[in-house]
Amino acid sequence: MSGTLADTEFVVRQISETILANETYFGELDAVVGDGDFGYSLARGFEIVVDQWDSFDRTDPGVFLQKVAMTISSRIGGTSGPIWGTAFLRTGGQLKGNETFDGADLVRALRAAVEGIKARGGAELGEKTLLDSLVPAIDTLEAELAKGSSRAEIVKAMAVTARETADATANLQAMRGRAAYTGERSIGSVDAGATAIAVLLEALAATWPE
């Protein structure tokens, strides 16, 4: 596969719209054992992305992602600001300098985002954060690329993985973020961040133009 600026724009736009459409739902997920502001925080950042859509530097996909990262970092507070800002920044950093990217580039870029999230927040897999659906989804991306699947097939497969693994976070005890303070009481409900990843990938899969 190969990706372009247009693909990147499509994905970012799709993510932004889905976040805005799910503000309340994401907030409710966070309210169960967190403080209920996850949807609000993301939405305040991504609504600026939509607002300023035409103004971003579009030199290449990587530069575009870095500009988006700076916009959301400067507006999103809470845990999500640094986490999502870092993720976009690292992905962009890896893709920067080329007009297109291939599957391997994308995997490397997303793995860099994961490393950035871990470095920033100190979380590891299994600690009930968005990593618990994001990392398996990237694994699926890699596996589907190896199988030679189409882009639409890949996104669909990633969405399925993300949903399964997000749902499985219900069995985990939160070790990071505000939910961690509830100890065992966090078991039984899904993680808001991990579920958001599933929702975003499902929305991408549903609208993928192929």
Binding site: A31, D35, D37, G77, G81
Partner: protein, 331 residues
């Protein structure tokens, strides 16, 4: 939602504007960065003290800016740490020759934002140190989690470092007293009702008419356990029972005792709790040298209270007794 609010998204800026309008001579408000600072800051004779956190804990921290307390506060949205950019901008604006001490209540989001801001400020050549506050005994300490939360005890850290910085102490010395106060400060809270963030519009959790949440967090995070509502006497027993053995506080200690309201509890009830707690501590041989009753760190309109104990020595007592004045004055 029973609140005085226009557009919920403008809740924090409109509150900050009110603070600025009520304090035109002493306060500067910078809307682009949600930032409230002393109009006479920075002073190169003192370390500047900054605290930020999610909003919804007022008077902490935007209303405790003033001589002997904070030089600036950088709030985020309700219950969300400020973006790192805002913290960085705040640090830049109050940077003095003596440096900037960043006070951070220990939460994941706050830690990340302040760490990033400190890195950026440091790269600019600003002398910066970060002090994490973690006084809440409700959450058990553990290396594999995120550590204890910072709650109402942050008042004592602010008061101490504020006083020390006014004396012209260097940043290491100011940091030292802050760290020392944090290390002898313990808090636990209890909620009788939940609270409703303006932008969410519905309560963060549901408590039955006869229930209370023991060890609640100041962001509506669930606490140690949910229990049947009991008498004020039994509630104080439960809170002191968690706080006293934790440090521990022992017979012969001199302490500061704070009964802090979480936002919706009237001050009459806080004094009632204070009286009960004071008598129980005295019965244990613990001497109360300083008392604090009122709202210091709230959780929006949550009905509830927290008790904080600080173990005093001469140095801490002197810092707590030093003069200070803030935005949110009485007279």
């Amino acid at each position: 939602m029973k609140k005085f609010v226009n557009d919920p998204k403008q809740f924090v800026p409109e509150m900050l504007e009110g603070i600025a309008l009520a304090n035109p001579d002493t306060i500067v408000y910078v809307p682009e960065y949600n930032l409230i600072m002393r109009s006479d800051a920075p002073s190169n004779d003192k370390v500047s003290i900054v605290q930020g956190s999610g909003s919804g804990h007022e008077p902490a921290h935007v209303m405790v800016v003033g001589p002997g307390m904070l030089d600036a506060a950088c709030p985020g949205d309700v219950f969300a740490a400020p973006p790192a950019d805002y913290v960085y901008e705040t640090a830049k604006r109050v940077a003095s020759d003596k440096g900037v001490l960043l006070l951070v209540n220990n939460y994941t989001g706050d830690r990340m934002a302040f760490d990033m801001a400190a890195e950026l400020a440091d790269a600019d050549g600003i002398k910066v140190k970060t002090l994490f506050i973690n006084d809440d005994v409700a959450v058990q300490d553990s290396t594999w989690t995120v550590g204890r939360r910072g709650v109402a005890g942050n008042f004592f850290v602010i008061k101490g470092v504020g006083a020390k910085s006014e004396q012209g102490a260097d940043i290491d010395e100011v940091y030292r007293v802050g760290e020392k106060i944090n290390s002898v400060t313990r808090t636990m809270g209890i909620a009788l009702t939940a609270c409703t963030p303006p932008a969410k519009g519905t309560p963060l959790f549901e408590l039955g008419e006869d229930e209370m949440e023991v060890g609640v967090g100041i962001h509506g995070e669930p606490g140690r356990r949910r229990a049947k509502l009991v008498s004020a006497d039994e509630i104080v027993d439960e809170l002191l029972g968690a706080i006293v053995p934790d440090l521990p506080f022992v017979s012969g200690d001199r302490v500061a005792l704070m009964v802090n309201g979480l936002g919706g509890t009237p001050i009459s009830e806080l004094y009632l709790l204070y009286g009960i707690a004071a008598k129980k501590l005295q019965a244990q041989g613990i001497e109360i040298a300083r008392s604090y009753v009122g709202e210091y760190c709230t959780s929006l309109e949550m009905a509830g209270a927290s008790i904080t104990l600080v173990k005093l020595d001469d140095e801490i007592e002197e810092l707590l007794a030093a003069p200070a004045s803030i935005v949110n004055r009485i007279f």
